[in-house]
Every structure is written in structure tokens, then in C-alpha cells.
């Protein structure tokens, strides 16, 4: 846990609740399982003591603003604040109904990468210590172990290439602003399949999404997915079959990603939520790159910005057109 941040978030939350500035504070709490810190909504000062800030805050809290009545405070690092900007621009959330507690993200840890590292052991506890994680547990013979690993080794992919670690809008910022970028170059990794041959790309796509069990955690965790009826749930007409057939699964993923084009802020919540560990961002980050390169647009940075698919310029690239 990033202790000082945690303390300050609690302090701010208590003040806001006490002064009745907001009805609730949407933040994170400690998980009941190592590395599974989870969304939490505090309504009272006592409950505010459950709020934390850690390297395992991977869910997108902006989701919980959709449809919420009254005024809420929300803990927001860069990507969450950008999601809020999106929701404001898409008329899902009113700016005056949100009190944004801005915070800096250290870059979140990919729990699966840690589990992978200790694949033959049972992890019982994970502590944070600066740039390191202290992983404790036991092996199958019951022998205990304790090991330090660098957080950098197990950071989520999207946090490596993040360009906005500090909240982009906020009513109050907690702690010092930190390093703005994750250090990685998004263009090197955004669309890894571009390097592959045509057939290899299809194989990579199949390999990546083939294990989907259609639980829709990726969709349901995503603050962009607020349609009252998702296309995949429509029955008149039914756009997409309900089976485990590859074509049904892939249609869902291609279309869902496409619906996020020009809107996705690459928060990585979809990947973190996927119980099967599917690299869901393979599609969204490609679209994000295209939107950036073709139309010079980066979503979630400016309230009032016109969404890139709702406008055009006469000089837009036209090579997709059959002449």
C-alpha cells in the first residue's frame, strides 16, 4: 500500500463526507486475497477508513459514476480521470455531480504476472515496499518462502506506456504529482501484430481470444460500455450468436473494440478484469494508435473535445476508399 497516499485519501474523504460536500466517496479497498484490491464506496467517515491507495488498484472506478444520483467524490489517477472526461463529453455524467480526488498512479501491478512468476507456489501475502513487492507464501510441500521482486517487472502492459499518470482534471489533488509517463513507447507495442504476415495475424488473434468464456467482464468493467442493450445481447435482430463458436466470440470482441474506437483511454481494466487473462488490449490499443496517427486525437484529455468519429477533416486519409 502506498501509505501516505492512503492516509491523505482517507483524510480528504472524511472531510468531504463530514461537510456533506458529497454523498459518497468512490475509491478502492484492500482485497480479501493478495493483489485483488477492489472498488469500494464509502458513505460515512468510518467507512472512509477502508479506502486505500496501492499498486493493485486496477478496476476503472468511473464505471460507478454512470447512473449514480447525487454528488459523488471519486479517487482518480490519470486514466480514471480521462474516463470521467469521456463520460462528461458523452453526457453520461455531469461535471458538477463529481468531485474528483486526483491522484498520481505509480503504475499498477499485473497480478497475473506475479502469479506466473510464482507458478509453483501459493502466494499468501504481498506487501509493497517502495519500488518492490515482498511476496510471501509456501510451496506445495508446505515450505514457506519470502521473495522481493521489482514492481517494474510485473507492471501492467498499459501502465508501461501510460502518458498521463497524474489525474488530468480534479477538484483536489492528493499528494505530490509524480512522473507523468510510464517510460515505455506506446508506438512500439500498441499494435504488435502489424509486424506479422496476414495469416499469422489471424492465428495470433485466434490464439489470444480463443479462450474467451464470454463472461463479459471486459465489457462490464469498461466505462465506455454503458449501452442499455449491448449489441451482443440484442435479439431483434440477433447480431451475434450466443455460442462458444469462434465466429461468435470473435465477432463480439472485434465489434466491442470497434465501439471503443476514439474513446478508449487504455486504462487496462478490461485486461485486469478478464478471468482468463486474455490480452484484450491487443485490439483497443491498435485502434487507439490508428485514431492518434490518422486523426491526431487522444481521448479523455479535454472537456468539450469533439469525439474523432463525430467529425472529419477534408484532409483525412482516404486510402481506404475504393477509388
Amino acid at each position: 500500500m502506498l501509505k501516505e497516499y492512503t492516509e491523505q485519501i482517507r483524510e480528504v474523504a472524511k472531510r468531504l463526507l463530514k461537510d456533506k460536500v458529497v454523498d459518497c466517496v468512490i475509491g478502492y479497498r484492500k482485497g480479501t486475497v493478495p493483489m485483488l484490491d477492489a472498488p469500494y464506496i464509502a458513505y460515512t467517515e468510518e467507512e472512509a477508513d477502508n479506502l486505500i491507495w496501492s499498486s493493485f488498484c486496477v478496476s476503472n472506478l468511473a464505471k460507478f459514476l454512470i447512473g449514480r444520483k447525487g454528488k459523488s467524490a471519486i479517487v482518480a489517477q490519470g486514466c480514471i480521470s480521462r474516463s470521467i472526461v469521456n463520460l462528461i463529453n458523452e453526457n453520461q455524467v455531469k461535471r458538477e455531480n463529481v468531485y474528483i480526488i486526483g491522484v498520481w498512479s505509480p503504475g499498477m501491478v499485473d497480478r497475473r504476472k506475479v502469479l506466473e512468476k510464482f507458478y509453483d507456489k501459493e502466494i499468501l501475502e504481498v506487501e509493497e515496499d517502495g519500488d518492490e513487492l515482498i511476496v510471501k507464501g509456501k510451496d506445495f510441500e508446505g515450505k514457506e518462502f519470502e521473495e522481493r521482486i521489482s514492481k517494474n517487472e510485473v507492471k501492467r502492459d498499459n501502465c508501461f506506456t501510460c502518458m498521463h499518470r497524474n489525474a488530468v482534471i480534479y477538484d483536489e489533488f492528493v499528494g505530490e504529482k509524480g512522473e507523468e509517463t510510464g517510460g515505455g513507447n506506446i508506438d512500439n507495442v500498441a499494435a504488435p501484430w502489424e509486424k506479422l504476415s496476414f495469416d499469422e495475424r489471424w492465428e495470433a488473434f485466434r490464439e489470444t481470444f480463443g479462450s474467451c468464456i464470454r463472461c463479459y467482464a471486459c465489457r462490464n468493467v469498461c466505462p465506455l460500455c454503458y449501452c442499455s442493450v449491448c449489441f451482443v445481447d440484442e435479439s431483434k435482430p440477433q447480431w451475434c450468436g450466443k455460442t462458444q463458436d469462434e465466429a461468435d466470440i470473435f465477432t463480439f470482441h472485434i465489434l466491442r473494440a470497434f465501439h471503443c474506437a476514439g474513446r478508449c483511454v487504455d486504462c487496462g481494466a478490461c485486461e485486469s478484469a478478464c478471468p482468463m487473462g486474455i490480452k484484450v488490449r491487443r485490439l483497443t490499443s491498435k485502434l487507439e494508435k490508428d485514431v492518434r496517427e490518422l486523426y491526431g486525437y487522444v481521448p479523455g484529455l479535454e472537456i468539450g473535445a469533439k469525439p474523432p468519429l463525430a467529425v472529419y477533416r477534408p484532409d483525412d486519409p482516404e486510402n481506404f476508399i475504393t477509388p
Binding site: G31, T32, V33, L36, D37, A38, P39, Y40, I41, S59, K63, F64, R112, L115, E116, F118, Y119, D120, E122, L124, F140, G142, I213, R214, C215, Y216, A217, R219, N220, V221, D233, G241, K242, T243, Q244, D245, S272, A273, C274, P275, G277
Partner: protein, 342 residues
């Protein structure tokens, strides 16, 4: 009947069984464990499989019947049954909690003659379950609190115990005993050893859930506790918990056509989805997230026990705890339910 087999003889034991059965067992894939066809060796050091083996009996997508999509054909538009499973199977090293789950599901899928799910029955009849006692339960395991245990025998044909260099096999059903009949009898010390391992394993399961109030109170009392107003708040209403759960069994039925071929398939469904209960009129009896989250816990911990003489609809495998993207921990939910009913 208690038998024993040296681990270095497992391969030949398996190859003999292969003549009459398809053999399946857990297999490592990174830190995850999945079910796969056995290639000669057996995995003993593993946590439970990531997904439960329920798809052996209840595949996520299953064709139920088919028809000729041609109204002019005299046999057209009439549903025809699918062929039955054409093999016999053995699942090796299934965890006792999963076997217990299937024994529970037998009471759902084979309630009575009018509700006899032939698809489930066919595969259950043709599949032998050889369980592996859990010497090292996971920290998320709470089977002991829900009428199960690391060495539970319910639903198994044979219970195996990993003794280190040898494996003990306890025959439970007749067909299970037949499978192991050719093996050597276990020695007294082997049996004692297994007893010790069982006690040891049970002592390692420290997390408990309390259910007494939930079971004893009226349905509406449990239905109306204040907990439901909070617990759903952060739920995403995805289906991860239900798809990973070995006792969740809800499904949807869909028709599909392609040219003159048509079929009726069933797919796993989830009570977490608003669509699940949505009437064509637009009315939805479980229209809110609160209703749906409550349904899942009520079903497992109140409705199933109500119907099945107190038997709990959860086997304590802990899969939902580690797969829930927002860490809704069933142990906490149940304990809070019980607490609020004091």
C-alpha cells in the same frame, strides 16, 4: 476396498485403462491448471483446476437437437435427437469439491422423470470420477464449512490419496472398485498415512463461513436483510463467478439455422445478466443489480438448502473468490448474511 500403486507404475496402469476409456486429468498451463486428455503421466502437485470440470457434463455450448430446415420435406421442421456420447471416460485427480458439486447437480438435472436432463445423465453415466484428496488446500478453500471437505467422497467413484512415492486408492462405488481391482491391496500403514494426511489437510482449512441463521430463518427474512443494498454496489454483473462455479448450472436455449440445417443449442447463462429474466413485455422480475446479486447468494445458501434438506449449493472451492474482478468474496458475503440475521 483400499488399494495402492507406486507412482512409477501409474503409466502402465493408465495405458491399460486407455484400452477402454478416454482418460482426462489436470494439466499445468503457466500458473493455471486446465483439464486435458492424459498423455501418460498424472499431475499431483496442483491447486484446483482454474475452471471447474463441469463442462465434461455440461458443455458451455451443447447441441441438444437438430432439424431439417425445409418445410417442404416430409421430415422437415421436426426436431431429431442428437447421438449420445460414444465413449466411456475417466476423470483422474478431480478434486473432491468438484465431485461433490456434480453429486449436487445430479439432484438438479435428474430431479424426477419429468425433469430428467438426458444430456447430463448420459455423460454422468459414462464418466468415472477418480478424486484426489487435497493434501494442501488453498487459502481460499472453505469446503469444511459447507458440508464438503478436502477428502470428501461424495460423488466420487474412487478417492486417491497422494502418499508421496505411492498413491492410495479407496474404492467407493462398484464401478470405481472395478477400475482399481487389479491393484495391490494397501498396507495398514498406507491407510493410517492417508488418515493422517486427511486430518492434517482439514486442520489447514482455517477460514470458515457461518450459515446457521441463514438456514433457520424464513426466506423473506433472508431476502430482506440490509446487506443486499451494499453488496451489489461494486458488482459488475459479469458472469465470471457463475461460469467458474462448479455448481452454477443456468443455461439459455437458442435456435440456429444454416441453409437446410438447423439446431437447438444450449449455452451457459448467468443470473448476473439482466437479460436472463427479462420478459418480452419489458417487465423484469429481477431488474436491478441488487436483485441479481441477491439471487446468486440466495440460490446457493437459502433456496437450494430449502429444497434439498439443508444441503448447501456451494462446495467451498473458492474459485469465485479469486476470479471476481472486484473481489466480492463469498465467504464475507455469507458471514455477513448470517450476522445480519442474528
Amino acid at each position: 476396498m483400499v488399494k495402492v500403486l507406486k507412482k512409477d507404475q501409474i503409466e502402465s496402469f493408465l495405458s491399460k485403462l486407455k484400452e477402454n476409456y478416454e482418460l482426462y486429468g489436470p494439466k499445468k498451463k503457466g500458473f493455471e491448471v486446465e483439464w486435458a486428455k492424459l498423455d501418460g503421466s498424472l499431475l499431483f502437485d496442483f491447486k484446483n483446476s482454474s475452471l471447474s470440470p463441469k463442462s465434461f457434463f455440461f458443455p458451455q455450448t451443447e447441441c441438444m437437437m437438430h432439424f431439417k430446415n425445409d418445410p417442404n420435406d416430409p421430415e422437415g421442421m421436426i426436431m431429431k435427437p442428437e447421438p449420445e456420447l460414444d465413449s466411456k471416460r475417466i476423470l483422474f485427480n478431480i478434486r473432491p469439491c468438484d465431485a461433490k458439486a456434480f453429486s449436487l447437480l445430479d439432484k438438479v438435472f435428474m430431479k424426477d422423470e419429468a425433469s430428467l436432463d438426458v444430456y447430463w445423465k448420459d455423460k454422468r453415466d459414462k464418466t468415472i470420477l477418480i478424486g484426489l484428496g487435497c493434501n494442501n488446500p488453498s487459502p481460499t478453500c472453505f469446503c469444511l464449512s459447507v458440508g464438503c471437505g478436502p477428502f470428501s467422497e461424495e460423488g466420487l467413484d474412487v478417492l486417491a490419496v497422494d502418499l508421496g512415492d505411492r498413491v492410495l486408492f479407496k474404492g467407493i462405488t462398484e464401478r470405481g472398485k472395478e477400475i482399481i481391482s487389479s491393484l495391490d491391496d494397501a498396507e495398514e500403514s498406507d491407510i493410517k498415512n492417508a488418515e493422517e494426511l486427511k486430518k492434517n489437510a482439514e486442520s489447514k482449512i482455517t477460514r470458515k463461513v457461518e450459515l446457521d441463521n441463514i438456514l433457520s430463518k424464513e426466506i423473506l427474512e433472508v431476502y430482506e436483510i440490509p446487506l443486499w443494498d451494499r453488496i451489489h454496489e461494486t458488482c459488475l454483473n459479469c458472469g465470471a463467478c457463475t461460469f467458474y462455479c462448479p455448481t452454477c448450472h443456468c443455461f439459455d436455449i437458442q435456435d440456429e439455422v444454416q441453409g437446410d440445417y438447423g439446431r437447438r443449442v444450449r449455452n451457459w447463462d448467468t443470473c448476473m445478466s439482466w437479460l436472463f429474466t427479462q420478459h418480452a413485455s419489458g417487465h423484469n422480475p429481477r431488474g436491478t443489480k441488487k436483485d441479481r446479486v441477491r439471487q446468486r447468494f440466495m440460490h446457493k445458501f437459502k433456496y437450494i438448502p430449502f429444497r434439498l434438506n439443508g444441503e448447501i449449493g456451494c462446495v467451498g472451492c473458492g474459485r469465485c473468490i479469486v476470479r471476481c474482478p472486484v473481489n466480492i468474496d463469498v465467504r464475507d458475503v455469507v458471514n455477513q448474511m448470517n450476522q445480519q440475521l442474528k
